[in-house]
Structures are given as C-alpha cells and as structure tokens.
C-alpha cells in the first residue's frame, strides 16, 4: 500500500507530490495524459520539440513547478492512466486505474483528487455539430503541438481566456475570424475597476492579456463585445456562426468559452460533500483548512475545490501535500503550520484575482437564456429542452428526470448535461441550481472496455477482505 495516490498531474498534483515526497511519503501520481503538466501546461509528446513552448509570463510559475516535479525522486508517475473508481476501505482507499493495457486496483492510505476542470458546456442551437469545440480543446492542440484543429475559427463566450486562445491559434498559423464576447465591454471594465487594487497586484496577467490583444490586432482579428452567439449553423458540419443581432459569420470551427466547471466525479463517487459552484455551476468539493474532505483521508486541491486558476491550484496543492504529511504523522502541527504560512498568505491574495476574473467572465446572463425548445440539452442521448420541460411538469428530482428522459445516461456520465439540467430544474421549481443534489455519481468515472475489467477480482479480493 502506498502512502499517497494523487489523481491529476497538473500544478496542484505536482505541488502536493513535492511536499509529500519531501516529508518522506511514498507517492504515485495518475494522469490521463502521458506527461505531467495538466491542461494548463500540456506538454508535447516525448521526443517532440515545440519552439517557445508556453513562453508567456502567465506560464512561468507552472513551468517552474513542472521542472521541479520532473526532477523529483521517489514519486511514481503513471501517465496515460485513467482513474475510473474511488472507494473508501477500512484502512484507506481503493482506486480502480485503467490503462490501454489493463485495469487494476491500487491501495493508498491517502488520496488527493486534483483532477482540474473542463469547459462549461452551454447548450445552444447547433452546439452538437461537428466543428463546434470548447476553447480548452482548441487550446490543447495548439499548446502542446502547434496543431491548428480547423480552418477558420470563431471564438464565442464570456471568458477572457478567449483572447489568449485566439492569439495562440494565430501564432500557430491558424485563422481566427473573430473573437466575440457575449457581454458588453463596459461590464467587463466595471467589474475589473470594482477592485483596482487587485489589478495592480496581478498586473502581469493583464500584461499577458494585452499582449494577446496585440497579436490579434496585428493579424487583423476583430474582438467584439456585446455580441451573444445565438446559434451555430450548418447541415453536416459547422458552416457559420449566427449572432443575436442577426449577423452571420462564415467559419468551420466555433470554439466556445464561457468558463470552467470542476471535475467532480471521483469525490462524488467516494461520497465527499460537494457544493454547487456559484454562477458557472458544477460541483466544488468541500474541504477543511488542510484540504481534507469530509471523507477522512480524501483530500482535494486545485479546480476540484472550485475553479480559481493555476496559481491558486499550486497553493492548494502545497497545502494538501503538507496536510497529508501531517495527517500521517510525518509532520507535527507546528511544523506543518510553519511550512504552510507563506502559502496561506499567497492563497488569500490570489483569491481576490480569481473572484474578479469570475466576475468579468460571469456567464449568468447566457445561462439564463432559454434556447429554442428543439435545442439538444443532453448530447449523448439526444434529449431536447422540450423533452426535459415536458417531464419537469411532474418530476423535478434530477435522478427522476434522468430516468424519465435518459438525460445523463450516456457515455459522458452527465458531465455535459448535468449543469444545464439542474438549471432547468431550478427555473421550473424556483429553487437554486443543485439545491436537490445532482445525478448519483456512479462507477466508472471514465469509459472502460469490458475486457479490461474482467481480470480485476484477484487484486480486489484483498480489498474486500479488509
């Protein structure tokens, strides 16, 4: 049995591994990607060289952390590995981990879920057409390998990350037709100016955004505000983006960027308490000052606790690593408090910026719009808003609506539709989204070929016996 299994090799997982290894713990890190970095510092495949990879100032801290992590001894890296299951046992946890070659159960005394976030899905007409992607997906291609996954992009959404993604596409040789912010510029400015001190403290990040805008200006890419995307059009694939003012823009890719929601499958599967994240939604896992959840021994850090960005994730990873060493008796309270002091101060400072960014990117207005009745809400099972609304007249419990409509029964396990459904339920019965919980989280958190699971029982017999 290992001391600590970390799920997620992004900044939070790396920072935790560094602290835990320094305290003498045996640590294994599992990540779906072959190499560490997470989505923020998604690395090129081994053996590839990408000139000026993540050269921007915003990436300096996560690159420094990555370099330290890759130099660590005593940490086992398991890339290309999905964690499909997480369950508590008598003396720790059992993870069901899956690689292309097989599945096995891993026993760990402590578990840290630092699984990051994913793009907030926003169902609108045409969002299931081939050629519509999340801005995060487009960025994963250009960041790691300078592959431009399309011909002519329109970026639409509310999140300022759009500027950075658009600039990365342009710098990788792609064509961006326009960057279209849903909200008016005045609202962004007002919300930023509401906290001028935060702007001063985090001036570096604004410099990066300004640099992105210069790249776009040089390339002649228009950046417009107050232009809500109404629909994506095309018969077999994306042909154009249509906006609320009636204008139509020809393109073959639409990248949507309305914000981010935490990956919460594993904490929910393990029974940890989660809370609905304000505005963008999704389930943030609750934790104490040492990042421990209410399932003793299960820790969380980074976007899993609520989306706050990479700098906060680094802080939370450090705190979790120290907290885990403390919980295993490798650090006494005084030593742990001392190690954590500077990180706690920094975390508090960064929280102001995260709040300001969330306010600027606020997708509340977008999410409150009711799309046409035939718009698909659950894309795995092709369930429309009209079909959902018909059921909401008699049933509003999320699992009941799921059972009645198949919404959330598909291969994505509800990741794409749960938020949209919970918002519809809230609108129907006048409650807050997530007030009545969500879908029951089930094994597996990721699809697993059945052949791989048939051999699991030998390892797990021991797990059941104890």
């Amino acid at each position: 049995m290992i001391d600590l299994a970390i799920i997620g090799g992004g900044p939070a997982g790396q920072a935790a591994a560094e602290q835990a290894a320094a305290a003498g713990l045996s640590v294994a890190v599992f990540d779906e990607q072959p190499r560490p970095g997470g989505q923020i510092a998604r690395q090129p495949p081994a053996g590839f060289t990408v000139p000026d990879w993540l050269a921007g100032r915003a990436y300096a801290e996560v690159r420094a952390q990555l370099a330290r992590f890759e130099g660590l001894g005593g940490v086992a890296w398991h890339g290309g590995t999905a964690v499909a299951g997480l369950a508590a046992g008598a003396d720790g946890f059992r993870l069901t981990v899956v690689t292309p070659d097989g599945a096995e159960r891993v026993a760990a005394r402590r578990v840290l879920v630092a699984a990051g976030c994913y793009d907030l899905p926003v169902p609108l007409p045409g969002w299931t057409l081939p050629g519509v992607m999340s801005a995060g997906a487009a960025q994963a291609f250009v960041k790691s390998q300078r592959i431009v996954p399309g011909g002519r992009f329109v970026l639409a959404g509310t999140h300022p990350l759009m500027l950075v993604v658009a600039a990365q596409i342009v710098e990788s040789g792609g064509v961006v037709a326009a960057v279209m912010f849903d909200q008016p510029l005045g609202r962004c400015v007002a919300r930023a100016l509401a906290d001028p001190l935060t702007i001063v403290r985090h001036a570096g990040l604004f410099v990066d955004a300004a640099a992105a805008r210069r790249v776009l200006a040089r390339a002649g890419v228009p950046v417009r505000f107050g232009r809500p995307l109404a629909a994506v059009e095309g018969s077999e694939a994306v042909a154009a983006a249509r906006f609320a003012d009636g204008s139509i823009m020809a393109c073959d890719r639409v990248a949507l960027c309305y914000g981010f929601v935490p990956q919460a499958d594993l904490p929910r599967q393990a029974g940890a308490t989660v809370r609905w994240q304000a505005v963008a939604g999704g389930w943030a896992t609750a934790h104490d000052a040492w990042m421990e959840t209410d399932r003793p021994g299960l820790f969380v850090a980074g976007e899993t606790t609520g989306v706050g960005g990479a700098a906060i994730a680094l802080c939370e990873g450090r705190l979790a690593g120290i907290g885990i060493a403390r919980s295993l008796g490798r650090l006494d309270d005084a030593a742990a408090a001392g190690l954590a002091r500077a990180t706690r101060r920094r975390h508090a400072r960064l929280s102001g910026f995260a709040r300001m960014l969330a306010a600027i990117a606020d997708p509340a207005e977008v999410l409150a719009r009711v799309p046409p009745a035939d718009t698909i809400l659950c894309r795995c099972e092709d369930v429309t808003h009209a079909e959902i609304d018909a059921v909401l007249a008699t049933a509003t419990a999320p699992n009941a609506v799921k059972l009645a409509t198949r919404c959330g029964m598909g291969v994505c396990q509800g990741r794409m539709c749960e938020g949209a459904l919970l918002r519809r339920i809230a609108a129907a019965d006048g409650t807050a989204p997530g007030a009545a919980g969500g879908f029951t989280a089930r094994f597996p958190a990721r699809l697993v070929p059945i052949d791989l699971l048939c051999g699991l029982d030998d390892v797990s017999a021991e797990a059941v016996a104890d």
Binding site: G85, N399, V411, I450, D451, V464
Partner: protein
C-alpha cells in the same frame, strides 16, 4: 385510492432493475437441490399468467413500454449444466410452459453470437425484456386516469389499526392523516419497515445487487440471455445498451445493528469483475464494448425465496406485495392483488393463483404481535 411514495414514482427497484422478462425457472431455485427445484415449478403458474399480461400490457396501458418478447436462452457450458436444463425443461413442460433444449447447429442458428463454450440452451420463445423507465410511469398515468391520487415525497410515519380500517399518518409533501378501509404495502425493500408501523412482521430480507450497462451499439442481441450454472442475465435494451447483471451482490451499509437502507450500497469489485467475466465468456462480443455505468439497487427476498403477495391474515384489511421477481411478475401481482382487495367473484380465484406467494405461510411470526 391514494398512493403514497416516499421519494418519486419509479425511484426504487422498479426503476433500477434491468427489465428482464424471465419466465424460465430461475437459477436460484435450481442451485438448492432437486426438492427445491420441484417445489419451485409451482411458480410457473404465475409465469404463465405473466406472459399473457405482458403480451397485452402496452395495449392495456396505452403506452410504448419497449416490450421485446423475442425469446430467451438459458445457456449451459458443461454436461452437468445440460442435465440441469433437461430436468428444468421437463418440469416447465409439465407445468404448461414450453422451454425447448437446443444445441449444435440449431443453437448457432438461433444465436450465432454465443461463444463456442456454450454447448446447449433452453429456449423459451416468450422471454425478453421491457423498459423499466417506461413501465412505472405508464402505470402511474393509468392509475391517475382511473382516479387514484399519487402523493410523492410523502412518508408514512404511523399506522393505527381501527375496527374496519386504518388511520395512516403521513409526513412530507402530502402530510396529514388519512383513513383507509384497506392498506397495501408495496414498498419494495422498505416494506418490512412499513409493516412494523402496522405492528406486523413482514419477513423480508433486503439484498443489494449490482448491474452494469455498456455504451449503445447497433442491435446484435435479440434475446434475453441467462445461465443455468452461473450468475448472468444479459440483454440489449431498446436504446442499444447491453445490460449485464444476474444477481451479483453489492454491499449494504450497516449501522445500529441492522442494514441501513437509507445509504447507497457499495459496489463490489469481485462482483463487477465476476459478472463481466461470465458475460464475455458467453458472449465474447461484449468484451469489446465500453462499460459506461455500474449501479447498485436493493430488493427483498423471503426465507423460501418466493414472493410475499396477498392478505396478511393477522391484520384484516392489510395486504402486501413484495419479495422480488416484481418486474416480470409485477403486472400479474398487481392484477391479482387488486382482484383480491376488490372482493367479489374474482377474489377467490386470485387468491388461489397467488397461493405460493401467500403471506399466510409466515403468519406464525405474527402470533405474538398482540394484534
């Protein structure tokens, strides 16, 4: 008529079961020796009625229930298992249910998807599956149309037995006290707890099972597949997903000296691997499909494994319908218990049909309950 539901209609086993329509004598009755197998043949009388009930159910309820009755195969991999199938089929034929033993070229013709390890099967033409997602809502709509009121998110907190009826105290969305001439407890795994409120033992034992479902794929499996010697039930649902189960246990939470039915049972890895291993041994094609969900659910069984359906003799006016097999046999239980409760000419016949499930066989347990 008032239907009281603690959560929402279809929230429990009625919506969580895998939707098999199985009419062959179940493996659980065959693995306990010949005496039990002979006795269990009595349940085929109910199965025979259930075949007719399911054939007419979509029309009766006016709803598409995705009823597929394209046949079921109970497969065997060894000579001993084939012998079990032969004895089982003979019993079923004697009880008026037709199961035929198929093997060799005929078996491959009927079911080309089966692995070479399968050497024979009992084939029953009426077996198949229906959609639990659709069946309960259709019954709810029909009950409402007939004048019944459904009170969801409403719990029974007290039952007082009065001369000629019951006073039932309700909490939650439909809070209040209602007077009822007759009371039917059909609360699945929670039935014993409701019975306790009426001061009767309903000897039901909760069991937690787990099931698995694959991604949706094009139709390739028209039959319900069961195994005579191993735990397996497998079918391809209307939507294209393959459902894999067959009685593999999950683990109930426990506390306070009893099983805690309010907590979700825990998935057991050996059950997961064991179930999927049997499935792929019988049907290799499913090994290449992706598992998208495994889920747990609870049902209740009795000491002799037969259902518990009928009047509770020590408490006049009190009825129960619980104890398992209640998807396949549910519509039949409902029809017969309604006839019994309505009284009149059909009541005696309904009581006779439910004889094997009659609560009277356990009434000695209530001989110290003080009425």
């Amino acid at each position: 008529m008032l239907i009281v539901e603690a959560a929402h209609a279809n929230a429990g086993a009625s919506g969580q079961n895998a939707g098999s329509l199985h009419f062959q004598i179940e493996r659980r009755f065959l693995e306990q020796g010949e005496a039990k197998a002979a006795e269990a043949a009595a349940i085929t009388g109910l199965s025979r009625m259930a075949v007719d009930d399911w054939r007419g159910l979509e029309q009766a309820l006016g709803a598409d229930l995705h009823v597929h009755m394209h046949g079921g195969l109970m497969v065997a991999e060894t000579a001993d298992e084939v012998a079990m199938l032969e004895r089982k089929a003979a019993r079923e034929r004697a009880a008026g249910l037709s199961a035929e033993l198929v093997d060799g070229a005929e078996l491959r013709r009927i079911a080309p998807y089966l692995s070479e390890r399968v050497i024979a099967a009992n084939h029953m033409a009426d077996e198949g599956h229906a959609d639990p997602r659709a069946v309960t809502p259709a019954f709810v709509a029909a009950a409402r149309a007939a004048g019944a009121v459904l009170a969801e998110r409403t719990r029974v907190t007290a039952i007082a037995r009065r001369a000629g009826g019951f006073a039932v105290t309700l909490a939650g969305a439909g809070a209040g006290t209602v007077q009822a001439d007759q009371l039917l407890i059909a609360a699945g795994v929670w039935s014993a707890g409701v019975g306790a409120l009426a001061n009767v033992h309903l000897p039901l034992f909760p069991v937690a099972l787990q099931m698995n479902v694959t991604e949706r794929v094009a139709p390739f499996l028209p039959h319900l597949i069961q195994h005579v010697g191993r735990r397996l039930s497998m079918k391809q649902a209307h939507a294209g997903n393959v459902l894999i189960g067959g009685g593999w246990p999950s683990r109930m939470a426990a506390g306070d000296g009893r099983f805690d039915l309010s907590r979700r049972p825990e998935l057991l890895a050996p059950s997961l691997a064991g179930n999927l291993a049997v499935a792929t041994a019988v049907l290799p094609h499913v090994g290449g499909l992706n598992l998208i969900r495994s889920w747990t659910g609870t049902t209740a069984i009795t000491a002799d494994q037969y259902p518990l359906v009928g009047a509770v003799p020590c408490a006049p006016g009190l009825f129960v319908a619980a104890g398992g097999s209640a998807f396949t046999l549910g519509p039949t239980f409902a029809r017969l218990i309604a006839a019994q409760m309505a009284g009149g000419g059909a009541a005696a016949e309904a009581k006779a049909a439910l004889a094997i499930a009659a609560p009277a066989r356990f009434d000695h347990l209530n001989s110290f309950m003080g009425g």
